[in-house]
Symmetry: C2
């Protein structure tokens, strides 16, 4: 039993639910796992040596996990210089030599609904001083990545011993998400986001176990994406530089598929709000003006022109080559059909086809749906489509709520799936929307039938791009998106009834664990507000407050 490779099984001493006990023994994992048990003693400390290794039987899986973990470790350390811990070991410290990972399926294909379950075990040493190994089980590599993320949140950098440590052993964590669709929308039409920024967003999503990036690429304001079938479309970009080539889009997919960045598994959803909502295809009059009703009345696109649907088909055909996700987002919100009825040519066509404006809107949406279906996509449409002609939508439609509460209940009652993004709670561009509201927003509110509950596949927080850009997108997303992420991950009965109960843990995620966040998030503006609600004065009044849970300094402000 003294062998370094033995995983010691120790009785679980203390099962903790939610926030608990004194500060030393609080669980600091975000989002809170399904089941957690840990030791009650803070006397036993595991120290992580520099050569800590993550190993599996499958070499390829192992590589992905190793890369992911080495990245997580460096984030936890925040670039602090780490000592090999051997010479610090004392009677209350043992070495944690490695993590053995067992993934039962080596199938690495990323699909919507892939199994995300994992089980993480970190033992106590049989005798103090004995080295130990931790173990991680999962059905897929994606579950294993969640487990690694959780493991990294159990590690602390001890600035005095200059080592990484795990406290409160033994740990047993069994975990899986409540909802399969846990999304974040970004919007590159209102402000272009350089590729590294998008990759950073993807990285940070994984820390909160969000798994769907809804990339709202184009809209009325700009068309930054290359479409090989219609190469004039991206003339609608803001500038030469503010564009995504097809290869760029592939690189984003690649990063997200964790071959490269090693963390997130996202599932791509591409928004085409332009189709009916906006004149994205004709931004600034470049591109293909024949898509317009007229030069002076440019949106929605000409419903009477077959070329409109030819272009939509070309775009979806090009998309299908790079965006392999189950869903495509066809928009369909905020449609004003007055350009159709006031343009004589189109008005004539409407009369010939016996349609008024709203009937033509339905015709447009349904025809676009059929094109998407023909390319093998299922469809997401904004809720206006459901609100107007829900019973005629394809049964493969997911209704995307945004206007407010209530539509989810109606959509699932009608047998359609639904994604919740009610703007009053989950729009990140509403800067006055507080994290408490993000936390408390319940996707299943007023839905009691279990079969209908299953049709709510999840939710999405939306970072519309009008008022943010590369300089502040991350600071605006976090930590509020993390609050929603726990709502979407953690079992309902483990969620705090009062968000106040989780303030400390969320602050820990945003700061102490935030080394696992892109570093400029360590102290985001939103984080400061969060901190304010914990223990310190808002920095507007006391600019140099520390955030580590120490008492706040009481000095008044000097000029440097």
């Amino acid at each position: 039993m003294d062998s370094a490779a033995v995983v010691v099984v120790v009785q679980v001493v203390n099962v903790v639910k939610g926030s608990a006990g004194n500060n030393e023994l609080q669980i600091q994992i975000w989002p809170l796992p399904k089941d957690v048990s840990h030791g009650s003693s803070s006397n036993v400390v595991l120290s992580i040596p520099k050569d800590f290794h993550v190993s599996t039987k499958h070499d390829d899986v192992s590589g992905i996990l190793r890369d992911a973990f080495s990245r997580l470790l460096s984030l936890i350390q925040l670039d602090h210089a780490v000592y090999p811990p051997t010479h610090f070991l004392n009677s209350s410290s043992s070495l944690l030599l490695g993590l053995n990972v067992v993934v039962s399926s080596i199938d690495q294909e990323l699909r919507y609904g892939v199994d995300e379950w994992y089980k993480l075990s970190i033992p106590s040493p049989a005798h103090l001083g004995n080295p130990v190994y931790a173990s991680l089980e999962a059905k897929t590599v994606y579950g294993a990545l969640h487990g690694l993320q959780t493991f990294s949140q159990l590690c602390r950098f001890n600035v005095k011993t200059k080592t990484l440590e795990v406290h409160m052993v033994p740990w047993t964590i069994i975990d899986e998400p409540r909802f399969s669709y846990r999304g974040l929308l970004i919007d590159t039409s209102r402000h272009y986001l350089p590729l590294p920024v998008i990759k950073e967003v993807i990285d940070s999503m994984s820390y909160a176990k969000l798994n769907v990036l809804h990339w709202h690429i184009v809209d009325s304001q700009s068309f930054p994406l290359e479409i090989p079938s219609y190469p004039k479309l991206w003339n609608g970009a803001y500038s030469e530089s503010e564009r995504y080539t097809i290869e760029d889009a592939k690189e984003i997919i690649f990063a997200a598929m964790l071959k490269d960045e090693g963390l997130t598994y996202w599932l791509k959803s591409m928004s085409q709000d332009m189709l009916v909502h906006a004149n994205g295809l004709n931004v600034r009059g470049i591109g293909y003006p024949s898509l317009w009703p007229s030069k002076t009345c440019q949106e929605p696109l000409d419903v009477s022109n077959e070329f409109t649907f030819k272009v939509i088909s070309g775009i979806l055909s090009d998309f299908r080559k790079i965006f392999k996700f189950k869903f495509v987002h066809l928009g369909g919100d905020e449609v004003n059909t007055s350009c159709w009825t006031t343009t004589p040519r189109i008005n004539k066509w409407l009369r010939e086809h016996g349609m008024n404006g709203s009937e033509a809107y339905e015709y447009f949406v349904l025809r676009a749906q059929n094109i998407a279906l023909s390319y093998g996509y299922e469809i997401v449409n904004w809720e206006e489509t459901f609100n107007n002609f829900g019973n005629r939508l394809s049964r493969k439609t997911v209704v995307h709520n945004w206007l407010g509460g209530g539509v989810a209940k109606k959509a699932v009652a009608a047998g359609l799936r639904c994604i919740v993004s009610n703007q009053d709670k989950w729009y990140l561009d509403h800067l006055d929307a507080e994290w408490q509201g993000f936390y408390s927003n319940e996707p299943l509110a007023n839905i009691t039938n279990p079969n209908q509950q299953k049709l709510v596949i999840g939710g999405e927080v939306c970072m519309w791009g009008e008022h943010i850009d590369a300089s502040d997108i991350q600071q605006t997303i976090w930590p509020r998106a993390a609050a929603a992420a726990e709502r979407l991950w953690t079992p309902y009965d483990k969620l705090a009834k009062d968000p106040k109960e989780v303030t400390g843990r969320l602050a820990h995620f945003s700061f102490t664990v935030s080394p696992a966040m892109p570093h400029h998030l360590v102290s985001s503006i939103a984080h400061r507000e969060l901190t304010y609600s914990i223990n310190c004065t808002y920095r507007g009044a006391l600019p140099w407050n520390g955030w580590g849970g120490q008492p706040c300094p009481t000095q008044t402000m000097n000029q440097s």
Copy 2:
């Protein structure tokens, strides 16, 4: 002459000073080099292949340059996918196969005043289609790094051909800085900055050819640095996490010395304002309270206590092991000696030594100077010391201006060196200070004697930390610090008399070249203000304006 390795010498066609000509032929280098000549035709394009190589005869130098250059290239590309350009070559395009670097001294030691000269030549092909090599000469590796930085600013990512290109060949650039000290102050006492953030600041400094990071580590508000000789000092950190170990400090030096990050050569200056200004040694009453005059009157440190000077000596002794720079900053500003005169014990000591408060302040500063000198440092002191007892300061003192204009003239007239940081123009924490003021602030104003001019060794822009933190420090520094950087680099007669003349070039540096900046700087708040002054409406009114020099869109705002 058709060999791929031949460097073709072509007559310089067009010498351009400042901003010039049409948009196509504008020089977009920041800061503007001393001498620039380039071709007048935009028809000849050099395409940079993926295997473009940087080579020298010295293997070690070559490694540093290669690392630096590969990092610069990836920044220029902003992660865009790049094609090998061969299949895009047409009659007006040739390959630029590599850059041959000749560094005459292989001495890589970084000293204040190291030679920064370089000469960069990019030829035209003898015949269209012929491949060419560029060449770079320098006396030191640090000069060569500047040359690489300039070279990277000549490269453009062409989103249509998906390649990197150089236009307007042939180029000949001969360059060196006007001032040897081109500094930026950061302040980790008012807000802790994680190591990756400091490294990012160092990186971005090099893009503007700034070369001194003044790291104001400690002050009244927190003491985040480990001092092995007095291990209780960093108990004054905000929290366990918000600390720098000695190894961390070494890592920062290492990064800055470009073994790691490959770009900046900085020269370290460590500020110890705490010595007389503040109670940094006793933040929050932890540490060594016997340094205080009394429990209720804590600063400046007890001048009557030998222990005070013992601690200062211990700190400087520890510093000397890691901070090898020529200068140490001993602070000395904003001293109020009332705690000395009102504390009976100290007041008694003052009377016994025949000193009043201001004489004791002088005694304190001069004694600290002597300690620093004994460790081989030269000294920087804030201007108050000069203003009060300038004639008794060590002749090895550099007077650091901050209060306003005028002191530089007096300091150099007294034969002392001076660094200019007048707060009305060069304090970055003054958010209402505009880039035009940063650009126009002339360190040699009213100093006409050439020998006295030489005593102004340069200037420093100051990013005091009360109101910024990791989330916005870079956005607050740039692009304003770049405006000052050109003032400190470019020959006086090439500087624009009216900052308006350089707006476009600075915007280019902040955006088009900004891929060479940390990517979240691409569109910083300050940049938006800059852009506003160019051609678009401020995004407060029109949130989705593009920044690439295209006409601004005219749509009004929609809600997503």
